[in-house]
Amino acid sequence: MDNLNHLLDGFVNVLTPLNLLFAFIGVVVGTAVGVLPGIGPAMTVALLLPITFSLDTTQALIMFAGIFYGGMYGGSTTSILLNTPGESSSVVTALEGNKMAKAGRAAQALATAAIGSFVAGTIATALLVLVMPQVVSFAVQLGSPEYFAIILLAFVGASMVLGSSRLRGFAALLVGLSIGIIGIDKVTGQQRMTFGVPQLADGIDIVVVAVGLFAVGEALWVAAHLRRKAGGVIPVGQPWMGKQDWKRSWKPWLRGTALGFPFGAIPAGGAEVPTFLSYVAERKLTKHPEEFGHGAIEGVAGPEAANNASAAGTLVPLLAIGLPTNATAAIILTFLQGRGLEPGPLLIEKEPVLVWTLVASLFVGNTLLLLLNLPMAPLWAKLLQIPRPYLYAGILFFATMGAWAVNGQAFDLYLLLGIGLLGFAVRRFGLPVLPLIIGVILAPIAELHLRRSLQLSHGEVSGLLGGPVAWVCYGIIVLTILWPLIARAIRKARGGKGGPGEGLMAELKDEVAA
C-alpha cells in the first residue's frame, strides 16, 4: 500500500494549477511537434528535451510525460491523414486509417485512435503501477553479473531480433558502443578515443547523440530524397464516433492493450510486433472481414491501443531496471540521467515521490490529451500542410538549439553535424538506429558492471555467470544467436518448406500483406 500512497502523493504534486499548466504545455507542444510529418515520437522527445532544462525536476517530469504521450498521439494523426509510410509502428494504423479517411470517415478514425490511445494508455499505466514494484523488488536482488547479463540481452535483442538484417543490427550496435566508451575511463582515469580533444574527455553528451541521430540525421536524409509533391492531406472536422463504431472499437482497444503492454515491457520489445499482431488478430476476429483493406475501424482501434500500451510497457524496464527497450525510452533515460537520476531499483527507493509523480503525470497527460485532441484535430490537420523547406529547416534549427543548450559550446554543434551525417549513413544503408543509440547509452553502464563483477570474483571469468537470472539471460542470448541454424533445422525436419528464416517481423508482414 506504500506505493499507492506514493502514487497519491504524486497526484498531489501534479494537480496544482502551475504544474497542470506544465502538463498542458507538454501535451500541446508534444502533439504539435509529433503531428508534423517526418517527426516520430523519438525525435519529438529529443527535440523538446531542452525546453525542460531550466525547470525543476518535478515540473520537468510533468512536462515530459505530456510530451511523451502527445508525441505518440501526434504520430497516429499523421498516418491517418497522410497516406505515406511513416514510422514502422504506425504503418499498420495507416493501413486501415487512411482508407477510412479517404472514404470520408477520417473523423471516426481519429476518434477511435484518440479514445483507444486513452483507454490503452490508462490501463497500461495502471498495469505499470501494479507491475513496477514487483520488478523493483526483483531487481534489488540483482548484482553486477546479473545486470551485465541483462544488458547483453538487451543488446542482442535490439540488434538481432527486431531488424531485418542481424549483421547490420550488430554493426550499428558496435558503432554505438564505440561512441559510448569515448572519454575518461572512470576506473583508471585514462582518456580513451579522445585524440587529445579536451571537450571529448567527459564523453559525448547523449543529448547531442540523440538529437544528431534522430533530428539532424533524419533532416539530411529527407533532404536527399524530398518528395517533389507533398502527399495530399485529407481535411477533417471534429472527431466523433457513432454507436456502431463504439461497439466495434472497444474490444480491439482491450485486445490491443493486452498485446502491447507485455511486448513493451520485455527487452527487444517495441511497438512494431504488437501493432502488427493486433492487426492480424482483429482481421481474424472481425465480423466485417470484407471491410479490411477498405477502412475497417477495428484495424485502427487495435493497433493504436497496442502502440500506446507498449509505450507504457517500456517504462517498466526503464524505471525499474534502467533498461531502455526502444528509441523513445532511450531518450527518456537520457533525460533522467541529465537530471542526475539513475533509473533503477535504487531510484525508486531513494526518490519514490519523484518516480510516482512521473507515473501520475502519465495519467494526467493522457487524460489532457483526450480532452485536447478531440476538439483540436482540425487544427493539427492544418499543421500537416506546413511547407517542407520550413519544416526541415526548423528541425535543424531546434536541433542546434538543443545541442547548444547542453554545454554552450560550438564544439557540440560540430559533433552534432558529425553524428547527423552518421545518422544519414545508417538510414542510407539500412542500419537500424535503435541498437546504435542503446549502445551509446548503455556502453558505460555495461562496462561498469562487467568490471565490478570481475572485481568481486577477483578476475575469475566464472564470476560473470552469477546466479540463475544470468544463466537464463545467457541461455536466451545463445538461442537468439543460433536461431537461424535452429530455424533451418526445424524447417528441414518439417520437409524443407519456405526460404531461409527471416524472423517474426517478416512473417507478420507477409501475413498483413496477404
Binding site: G38, A42, P50, S54, T84, P85, G86, E87, S88, G163, S164, S165, L167, R168, F170, L174, V175, S178, I181, V187, T188, Q190, R192, F195, L220, W221, A223, H225, L226, G231, G270, E272, A327, A329, R388, P389, Y390, L391, A393, L396, F397, M401, W404, G408, A410, L413, L416, L417, F424, V426, R428, G430, L431, V433, E447, L450, Q455, G459, E502, A506
Partner: protein
C-alpha cells in the same frame, strides 16, 4: 510508441533488382568505415598505459580491443553479405521519395550552412546565426521566397531567444547583440 528503426525486410524482387544492377556498391564504403573504426579502436587501446590492479583486473584496454576486433570481423562478414547481393533497406518516411535519385546538392548545401552557422554562433550570437541557419536551410531545401524565409528565421530566432534564453534561462549566446536584446 513508435521507433524510427528502419525495419523493412528486403523482398525477393528488391534482391533481384540488385543482382541485375551488380549490387549496391556504396555499401562497401560503410563496410570500410566500420573496419576503419575497428582499427582506430585497436590503435587507441594499444596506446593506453597498462594498469595492473587487483581491484580492476580487466583494465581500460580490454573493452576497446574487443570492440575493435568485433568491428573488423563484422566488416568482413558485411563485405561477404554485400558480395552475395545483400542490401539494407533504406529508411522510408512521410516525406521520403526513394524512387528519385539522392539529391547530393541539397545535402551538401545544408552541411555547409550548418557548419557556417555553428562557427558564427559564438561571435555573432544565437539570433543572427539562427536566422542564417533557418533561412539558409529553407533555401537549400527549395524555399524560393528568400525574404519571407529570412523574416520567418528572424522571428523564430528572436522568439526562441526571448522565450528560452531570457524566459527559461536556457544557455543561448547573445553574441554581438549583447546588451541590445
Amino acid at each position: 510508441m513508435t521507433d524510427t528503426t528502419p525495419d523493412r525486410t528486403h523482398t525477393d524482387t528488391a534482391a533481384q533488382d540488385v543482382e541485375t544492377q551488380g549490387g549496391d556498391r556504396a555499401q562497401y564504403g560503410m563496410c570500410a568505415a566500420l573496419a576503419g573504426l575497428g582499427i582506430v579502436l585497436l590503435v587507441n587501446s594499444a596506446q593506453l598505459a597498462p594498469v595492473a590492479s587487483s581491484n580492476d583486473s580487466l583494465g581500460p584496454k580490454v573493452i576497446p580491443t574487443v570492440l575493435g576486433i568485433l568491428l573488423l570481423i563484422t566488416s568482413v562478414l558485411y563485405a561477404v553479405d554485400i558480395r552475395r547481393g545483400g542490401v539494407g533497406a533504406a529508411d522510408e518516411g512521410e516525406d521520403v521519395d526513394l524512387g528519385a535519385k539522392a539529391d547530393w546538392k541539397t545535402v551538401g548545401l545544408l552541411v555547409v550552412i550548418f557548419a557556417v552557422s555553428a562557427a558564427l554562433m559564438e561571435p555573432l550570437g544565437w539570433v543572427i546565426a539562427g536566422t542564417l541557419l533557418f533561412s539558409g536551410s529553407a533555401y537549400a531545401l527549395g524555399n524560393r521566397h528568400v525574404i519571407r524565409g529570412l523574416l520567418v528565421g528572424l522571428a523564430i530566432s528572436l522568439g526562441t531567444f526571448y522565450a528560452f534564453a531570457i524566459g527559461l534561462g536556457v544557455n543561448l549566446p547573445a553574441g554581438i547583440l549583447q546588451g541590445i536584446l
